[in-house]
Symmetry: C2
Subunit: 335 residues, 2 copies
């Protein structure tokens, strides 16, 4: 506060504090290989708000529907629908979103999670990334890249963001919610030049994030604290991932586990003989264990039965809950 300028107390730039946008561009280009400039960045109160603004931009440009990954993050759907967009699900396979299926929809916008598909945990392959960018360029379309937990890639160097190879067609969405805390309510977008006029109309005259918070975060990044914190957090989460993975593999025979390379959750695909709804109901009733299933991430009947196992907020000793899960899988009614 002693070094804060008076400008922190006024209404400020609708896109966010200049000093934070400079630091974010530099951080994202270094850590995520984006092609961001300070001018291309908009600071928001988180990814939900970023999507609200982007949906408004699409609607203002006459777009009425967009594609979403299936399975996908169900909490994003009402945000996009509230802004007046129809959502069309496009399947995800082992390399990421199915670009042929996307092209077949005839739509011009899609939201994807290339760094770590939610909920399957797939890292989008380089080949698929090229196809997606080629699709966007040929359609003059837009890819919203939700890079929510990209800082946590464990077993090799992370792939850079899609934005880095197509800053003209990709809107990059990031957040402090996974690295620093959701309670900060800070996220950011990197917006292609062609959308900036419409985005400016959407934002109106005011930014939505406390200027003090923005100034503190700018300093935090500039002084190298974010890089150090992410490094420490990555090591801590990798260790939790290893423990959870080990516990699941030793307690559950031939477990079909996906999405281990990155992020803050694993996906356990259930064997054919087990029904997800039955398992979830049985776990709650007979064992007091709340499970989070895969099915609610699907809009169509393509659903794969499975469980999402998060390890970001859980205690480090997963032994007990995995043992209970193993018992549930062995004793739940089949069908």
């Amino acid at each position: 506060l002693a070094s804060a300028g008076d400008h922190l107390f006024g209404y400020g730039d609708p896109a966010g504090l200049a000093e934070l946008r400079v630091e974010l561009a530099s951080y994202l280009n270094r850590a995520r290989h984006t092609a961001a400039t300070a001018d291309s960045i908009v600071v928001t109160a988180g990814t939900a708000r970023s999507l609200t603004h982007l949906a408004g931009v699409l609607r203002a440009s006459g777009v009425e529907a967009m594609a979403v990954e299936e399975p996908g993050f169900p909490f994003h759907h009402p945000i996009l629908r509230r802004a007046g967009l129809q959502l069309v699900p496009v399947p995800v396979d082992g390399e990421g979103v199915d670009v042929d299926a996307l092209a077949a929809t005839g739509l011009t916008a899609v939201v994807v999670t290339p760094a770590h598909q939610y909920p399957l945990g797939t890292v989008m392959s380089p080949q698929r990334r090229s196809e997606l960018v080629a699709w966007a360029r040929s359609r003059q379309g837009w890819v919203f890249e939700d890079d929510y937990d990209s800082e946590f890639r464990y077993d090799r160097q992370p792939l850079g963001a899609l934005h880095g190879i197509a800053p003209d067609r990709v809107v990059y969405l990031g957040t402090a919610s996974k690295t620093l805390g959701a309670g900060l309510r800070v996220g950011w977008m990197v917006v292609p030049p062609q959308l900036r006029g419409l985005m400016s109309d959407q934002l109106g005259r005011d930014n939505e994030v406390s200027h003090l918070t923005q100034a503190v975060l700018a300093r935090f990044i500039a002084d190298g604290h974010l890089d150090r914190h992410v490094r420490r957090a990555r090591a801590a989460y990798r260790s939790r991932r290893d423990q959870l993975l080990g516990a699941v593999q030793s307690a559950i025979d031939s477990a079909d586990i996906r999405g281990v390379a990155a992020g803050l959750h694993l996906t356990l695909v259930l064997p054919d003989r087990l029904d997800e709804h039955t398992i979830v109901r049985y776990a709650s009733k007979a064992h007091g264990l709340a499970l989070w299933g895969l099915r609610l991430h699907y809009v169509t009947d393509r659903a794969v039965d499975g469980l999402v196992l998060g390890y970001c907020r859980t205690p480090v000793d997963f032994g007990d809950s995995v043992a209970r899960l193993s018992t549930i899988l062995r004793h739940a009614p089949t069908g």
Copy 2:
């Protein structure tokens, strides 16, 4: 931070931090005679966001148009329009918004500034408040009460908020932007029971204000700092108001000054022989003085020619700028 609970770092309640809503209800009921409860309060990133959410609520309930005061705050209009509402201007007279004219529109929602009409500075009379509430009850309509600078009433006890006499029909909108600083990006609404379901749908799953900011503000109010700060600020602004008023009255013969009882600005209505556009253009070209006219606050051709003179951010010595204004008014082309 030492006493902050873990809950500050999670996603939290979409309506805002419980401890802040408790303190705001108590503060508003004490300082503004609202009839708020913690449950009725929604914390937002400021009045622009409050209006965005409210416009969404109206649209979701099938409302397509709403009334606004004329003259009114022009920056609010695009926010309401962006949410899909048509705006119908209703005139303001010396007692506040014209309720007969409002009733004649057949609409069911209006946004008003009863504490200090923007830009005319009128304090809505008790009689007019009763008429407005009777209108809302008879139509099952909604009054959005923008109480933006109500803390600053100088010459007698402030009138309580409209909300206090009709909490079933009035949505109260407040902000920290005028008392603490716009850069905090914190505002609040008090929402009638009947609108809370729709408001909850609008808010979605996330609140938009940093939980740390909310926790600090809750403590700031609980410890009495906000009351003390507002008292000090009121004295400071009253002194600036007196100096500006004195300077205008001594430099400009028979100046028609309105809205002196409250707020952070005066309105100087121009004599018939002077044209506002000519004055504003001449002031800028010949004297390098940027003036803020009344006309841009009107949508129809009912405009009164005048100037809005703010004193919240200007230096305390108004002598020089008022002397220049006086010169401009005497030497500008008439017509």
